[in-house]
């Protein structure tokens, strides 16, 4: 499926969708948002990407299998589960720092690390699932 309109629209939408994912991730700690939705919007961006440009080009430009991204996310989650144990605290404990910038203040949590893991796991997992389904339907119908 190659459509000029879809490709151009995708080119327009993709950066914003990634930006939105990042915004959701950072806002997410005490406002609606967070790792899960952020991962979802990343996955939507990825799915849009390969529907518009085809799987081959998507894979080439991503340079890494979405499946691996998901696994990396899982590892990050595991690390943030165990890291507080090393510091002698309950698993998944967290701390926070507040950064005062000139225009706004930014709260950074150690939970952000965990959330990044969630983003990668959800985004990568959904994306690889969609890729796999797409491939199965293509190879078995015979029309590529």
């Amino acid at each position: 499926m190659k459509s000029f309109l879809l490709q151009e629209l995708t080119r327009l939408i993709l950066p914003f969708s990634v930006l939105m994912a990042i915004a959701l991730l950072i806002k997410g700690h005490d406002a609606p948002g967070g790792g899960f939705v952020s991962g979802l919007s990343l996955a939507v961006a990825g799915i849009l990407g390969f529907t518009a440009y085809g799987l081959g080009r998507f894979r080439r430009s991503l340079k890494v299998e979405p499946e691996r991204v998901a696994l990396l996310g899982g590892l990050i989650i595991m690390i943030s589960l165990f890291a507080p144990l090393v510091l002698g605290q309950a698993p998944l404990s967290q701390g926070q720092i507040q950064i005062e910038l000139s225009l706004f203040s930014l709260k950074l949590h150690s939970a952000l690390f965990f959330d990044i893991g969630v983003v990668l796991a959800v985004g990568g997992g959904l994306c690889s699932a969609a890729c796999a389904l797409w491939e199965t339907s293509l190879t078995q119908d015979g029309d590529v």
């Binding site: 696994l71 899982g74 309950a90």
Partner: protein
């Protein structure tokens, strides 16, 4: 320790998937992990058997605000069961029979599945239980997709759709509970729901019961289950059959014991259970494909469990727990027998099986033990399982249910005899030398030994189950342990 039980399989699964070692290493690591799990689960059973409750709160937040894992006798029994079944599944998955690719994919996924199940058994928080249900669902869906064909996609579709709907109902019920009490912690809910508006409470609990009943596959919510097995590699089918429905059973047990369902709801559970027992076994009798026959049988057996559960009281809940343990072991071993039979005969159809290819000997012995245990002949575990269920029904003076279950167990015997007749005992009698005799019992042998052990130690196991049921109905120790999870600090951080 609770963290290890939950996180070790997930961690190992991730590493196995990322590192992609060769098959031999992968199998060794998987076996090692399941060994560690079995040992820690046995330790947990030993720790909690005296009514002690082990609690671990995440993030330094005290329950009811924080999420806590809480293990009592009930959870640890199920965890030990899962660890044992996982080890047996890994033993039974062999390169020569199932192919390298299947093994490489099955090892990490089965570990993820285990992590989700153990998390579900451990968690003391209803929303966390929902998350674990989803983790189990996703990994089981991926396991179903291992062949990666259109057939496996189609086969898994009903499973995933039905389970998603059940999850949505679960979430709706959870939302109602949270709206009423402001809490999703089980221990907290069990205290607060006493004063909740009865109608709302009934609706919320009914939603939960329907959701868990779907997961446990009781009639009339069971029709997704028989569709799920055909494409799985047999040892994985054994794992599924043994444990997948048990998370639903566990959740029902837990909420019925701790929160105590309304009389109407437990009545509904009793009759749904009775209906499952009968409908499942009748459906099984009409099947000629061994795996389908067995999976309809699961519906029937879960019916016994749920009926006992609905009867409530320590007797009913203990019977449900004992029967669940027995059924997992027996059903898994029957699936392993089915695998062996299918491979030898190169067909799944019982009518086309031939005694000369099936052979007698050890395989027949293993099948005999498992089948007669399922049918409930003494001194095997099934006899004691059924005895405890019948006793609960008798004490509750539910004689119609008793009759239903008795008829159902007659049919169970008939359906096992059907397999025996077609696969093991068909004429003409073979000549000497025509037997297929090479058979290494391996994993199946271990399972059958476990069934025998359960049969001969039925007394202590039943006492254990009874204690677990009493502790849960009382609930005071559970609540106390959960609320005192962290000795210091205010309740919840500011």
């Amino acid at each position: 320790m609770l963290l290890i039980l939950f996180a070790l399989p997930a961690f190992a699964g991730l590493l196995l998937w990322l590192a992609r070692p060769n098959v031999k290493t992968s199998r060794r690591i998987a076996l090692l992990i399941s060994g560690i799990l079995i040992i820690s689960a046995a330790w947990l059973v030993q720790q909690t058997s005296q009514g002690a409750v082990q609690v671990m709160a995440f993030g330094g937040w005290r329950p009811p605000y924080g999420i806590a894992f809480a293990a009592d006798a009930l959870s640890s029994a199920f965890i030990l069961l899962q660890a044992l079944l996982l080890g047996i599944t890994f033993l039974a998955l062999r390169v020569e029979q199932h192919g390298e690719e299947t093994l490489l994919r099955a090892h990490p996924l089965a570990l993820f599945l285990t992590s989700g199940l153990i998390g579900g058994f451990l968690t003391g928080d209803l929303f966390n239980l929902f998350v674990m249900f989803e983790a189990v669902l996703i990994s089981s869906y991926l396991l179903l997709q291992i062949p990666g064909t259109r057939r496996s996609l189609a086969g898994a579709l009903p499973v995933i759709v039905v389970n998603f709907v059940a999850s949505a109902l679960f979430l709706a019920g959870l939302g109602l509970l949270y709206g009423m009490t402001g809490s999703v912690n089980l221990a907290d809910l069990s205290e607060q729901l006493v004063n909740a508006p009865p109608n709302l409470r009934r609706v919320a609990l009914a939603l939960l019961v329907v959701a868990f009943g779907t997961k446990a596959a009781i009639v009339p919510l069971s029709f997704w289950m028989p569709a799920s097995y055909p494409t799985l590699a047999a040892p994985l089918a054994a794992l599924f059959a043994g444990i997948m429905t048990k998370l639903g059973v566990y959740a029902l047990l837990r909420i019925h014991a701790l929160i105590s369902l309304d009389p109407g709801l437990s009545e509904a559970l009793i009759w749904a259970g009775g209906a499952s027992a009968l409908v499942g076994v009748l459906a099984a009798l009409s099947q000629y494909e061994m795996r389908r026959l067995l999976s309809f049988h699961s519906v029937s057996q879960v019916g016994y469990i749920v009926a006992a559960l609905g009867l409530g009281e320590p007797l009913g809940l203990a019977a449900a727990l004992f029967f669940a343990l027995h059924h997992s072991l027996v059903k898994s071993s029957l699936y392993l027998v089915a695998d062996e039979l299918e491979r030898r005969n190169a067909t799944r159809d019982l009518r086309k099986m031939d005694f000369r290819r099936t052979g007698g000997g050890l395989l027949a012995l293993c099948f005999g033990v498992a089948a007669f245990s399922l049918a409930g002949l003494p001194p095997l575990s099934g006899f004691f399982g059924k005895l405890s269920v019948f006793r609960a029904a008798f004490e509750a003076e539910s004689f119609v249910l008793l009759g239903l279950l008795l008829v159902a167990s007659l049919f169970t015997l008939a359906s096992m005899l059907k397999i025996w007749r077609f696969a093991f005992a068909r004429k003409p009698a073979p000549k000497k030398g025509e037997f297929h005799t090479q058979f290494q019992p391996g994993a199946l042998g271990l399972l059958v030994t476990l069934i025998l052990v359960l049969g001969f130690s039925a007394g202590p196991v039943y006492t254990y189950a009874l204690e677990a049921a009493k502790e849960n109905i009382d609930g005071s120790k559970y609540r106390e342990a959960v609320f005192n999870a962290m000795g210091e600090g205010p309740i919840g951080k500011p």
